[in-house]
């Protein structure tokens, strides 16, 4: 049976049980198929899902269930994007053994997840080719694993002096350039280690996690309400989409459907955030090639989109808009006309700016063939969003896993195939127009009604995944609730986590002065990666 034929979750379950009779438990929760496996059949099952069915690995994390089951659990999540199904595999890990089989040899995208699990939980991925530290730098002492449930959230161990080696490229004339963590521009911190021979970059290794704040640990044991405010502060310019993903997970657990008016309002805000984010990226790309006019033009348009945000909610970063169960209040009522006018102005000016900028041959010459991300790498590393779509990854959460009212609205997902800065810029420009059109559709079609539903008391130990299309791509949050509406485990996987390694591949063969341009064309979030 090939994957095209498996378009329902029950068919998939049947097929998997036929292939893997050893699966001890399989349950269906909404669009998620939950399977329990053991360490003997874990690799074979994951290999089958990834190689045979071509389901990408979309998240992988651990949870400390020693209090209830006596084990740690490794959750490995695959996505069947053609049918909108998530497959969540739970692998118990005995605390006395403290190790689990690595998937790196089978699925390259697993490498970072497994290193993260090792740093936070102290579970060793057996067979990992490069199990060095990821989250913690040399200052973190050995044998401190903060996400274990018995580790106090506020405990700050003494500074250690461990050494972390960067990948070394040897050869005649090969040299290194270290950059960061404090950069020249006004951006977030990260350390980039370039290995070069002459001008072209041979290898780039990015050391991130400088702004690691322990968000996942901070949310544990807190109320659902508190977790919401943390989710808003995962990544500033993705405030709304992160809070929406969190709310979606909580609403799935509560088993409620938000009122239709709230759903429309959420689409409006999510698309506004996308436009604002993309306009900033476009301004950045132009600035990094010293195209002042275009940069200022896009910055002005970004200012206009902030004006729309102010008009809607008085918060430039769309904070305190969402709430589990809907939106906080009726933000749209009485503002339809002025919003439609502002959006039309934005649309017109953006079209005129695009016409000028994309006809500038000097500019085009600079961005074409720069920073090519190959389709194979994008697929293997699960690079999604504009970065993936510019490399031919035709995937959009809004159509594959429809949420809110996207099915009732008309929009297209722009895809390019060259994978260079120019393609990413074209995708982002096209997405801006799609988003503006979506917002105008919302203003036309939004029905009257309430905007908020109570989530009530959640059933303890239930879990769910929230899945949205963030401005940077596929965003997955996992929430497991404990007793009295508290959070037991909150795992955030933003699109930036998957796209950073892809970015490192895209700069190979380019020259260092083009790095800021390539970086800006992806514009990944450091905070969203570091948590």
């Amino acid at each position: 049976m090939n994957k095209q034929e498996i378009n329902s979750i029950t068919a998939l379950k049947k097929e998997l049980l036929a292939r893997h009779p050893e699966l001890s438990k399989s349950e269906i929760h909404g669009n998620t198929l939950c399977l329990d496996t053991d360490s003997d059949s874990y690799q074979a099952l994951c290999k089958n899902l990834n190689h045979k069915f071509a389901f990408p690995l979309v998240s992988m994390f651990a949870s400390d269930n020693r209090a209830s089951t006596g084990c740690f659990t490794i959750h490995t999540v695959f996505a069947h994007r053609q049918a909108g199904i998530l497959i969540s595999i739970a692998l118990p890990v005995d605390p006395s053994y403290g190790a689990f089989p690595s998937l790196c040899d089978l699925i390259p995208a697993a490498a970072l997840y497994e290193r993260e699990i090792h740093d936070l939980f102290g579970l060793h991925p057996m067979g990992h080719p490069n199990p060095k530290r990821l989250v913690f730098h040399g200052n973190w002492p050995k044998n401190h694993y903060p996400l274990r449930s018995d580790y106090p959230a506020e405990k700050r161990p003494d500074f250690a002096d461990e050494r972390i080696e960067f990948t070394r490229i040897d050869g005649e004339g090969v040299y290194e350039i270290p950059v960061g963590p404090v950069h020249a521009g006004i951006i977030e911190p990260g350390h980039f280690r370039f290995s070069l021979a002459g001008e072209p970059i041979l290898n780039l290794e990015a050391q991130l996690y400088f702004v690691h704040k322990g968000i996942e640990k901070l949310s544990e044991g807190k109320t659902i309400e508190h977790g919401f405010y943390l989710s808003e502060r995962i990544s500033g310019d993705e405030t709304f989409t992160n809070s929406l993903t969190y709310c979606q997970a909580v609403e799935k657990i509560a088993g409620i459907k938000v009122p239709v008016r709230a759903s429309f309002t959420r689409v409006l805000f999510a698309e506004l955030e996308r436009v604002t984010s993309h306009l900033g990226d476009l301004a950045g790309i132009c600035q990094d090639v010293a195209y002042g006019f275009a940069s200022y033009q896009f910055k002005m348009l970004r200012g206009w989109s902030y004006r729309i945000a102010d008009e809607l909610c008085g918060m430039r970063f769309l904070r305190s808009v969402n709430i589990p169960g809907g939106v906080r209040k009726d933000f749209v009522h009485g503002k339809e006309e002025i919003l439609a006018r502002l959006l039309s102005e934005l649309q017109k000016e953006l079209a005129e700016t695009e016409a000028i900028v994309m006809r500038n041959s000097l500019f085009i010459d600079r961005i074409e063939n720069t920073g090519i991300l190959k389709n194979k790498i994008a697929v293997d590393l699960n690079a999604t969003g504009p970065g993936g779509r510019a490399s031919g990854v035709d995937f959009d959460v809004r159509t594959a896993f429809p949420y809110e009212v996207y099915t009732q609205l008309e929009f297209e997902t722009p895809v390019q195939s060259d994978g260079d800065v120019s393609s990413r810029m074209k995708v982002k420009l096209a997405e801006c127009f799609q988003s503006i059109s979506l917002m105008l559709q919302v203003l036309e079609r939004i029905p009257q009604g309430t905007v908020r539903e109570e989530i009530g008391m959640l059933e303890p130990y239930r879990s769910a995944y929230g899945l949205t299309e963030a401005p940077r791509g596929e965003n997955i949050h996992y929430v497991m609730v404990g007793e009295n509406n508290t959070i037991l485990r909150y795992k955030v996987r933003t699109p930036s986590f998957c796209s950073w390694p892809a970015l490192c591949h895209a700069v190979s063969g380019n020259i260092v002065p083009d790095f800021p341009l390539i970086n800006k064309s992806f514009n990944l979030s450091y905070a969203g990666n570091d948590l």
Binding site: Y151, G214, G280, E352
Partner: protein, 290 residues
Amino acid sequence: MFQVIKKIIQYPRVTQNYPAKPFDTSLISGKPVIGPEKCTACGACIARCPSGAIVENPETHKAEIHYDACIFCVLCSEVCPHGAVEITDEFELAVKLRKQLHANGSLEEQAIPPCDDVTFEESGMPRCDTTNDENHGMASCGEPTYEELGKQLKEKIEKRFGRSLQIREVDSGSCNGCDYEINALNNPFNDIERFGIHFVASPRHADMLLVTGTAARNMELALLKTYEATPSPKLVGAVGACACSGGIFRDSYAVKNGIDSVVPVDVYIPGCPPRPQAILYGILKAIDRL
């Protein structure tokens, strides 16, 4: 080219003349204020404030907001059963002493406690070596002493920085919201260069550091090195709730709360994130140009 000239004529100047002219604040959601006459000390807002910014006044038992920790989420105005919390449009909240952000802002008139740990750098700038993190840096002996001794240098600093200021931005653990807002100071609406204020690429060229985000453990060394690389006399601005107090990330294993636990701070700019105008206000306040 013709199209470019057309656009330049179409939008000759979009810069807002803030702070010379106040800008329209009717839409913005700013500082929350608890009316003491309406507050019944029920504690509803204290229990639910996500960043623990609301505290009980020890004398009146009424709720008060510490603006260095406030994340401006407006939850208090929703949960208050008596409607005592009003969301104002006030955004110019920057102050030079962190205590001024606490509910009882008159604290600055109190006697300055003695501090034995002040050393002087070569340039004559005072520096306090005991930064106290225990009580979120609030009683840090560095602040008042720094302020007191700093007054002696005030004239000197004003003379040097009054006309032109070079700023280096450091993100020591933010969510990137504050960084985007600092970035927005360079956009055509705010155009900070009209004040002779520039953002520079290296701390060695800077007079002032604008630090965003809580003092993350992995950034601590980088922040200290950046501070040390900045020539004295220098100013440090803490931008946003996280930099002022740790904000919602306070007391995590990976952070050290406010950045005044790592470097001395001259101006605190609360907000989550503060608007570009609020940051501009803070910078101008730091160099006494208001």
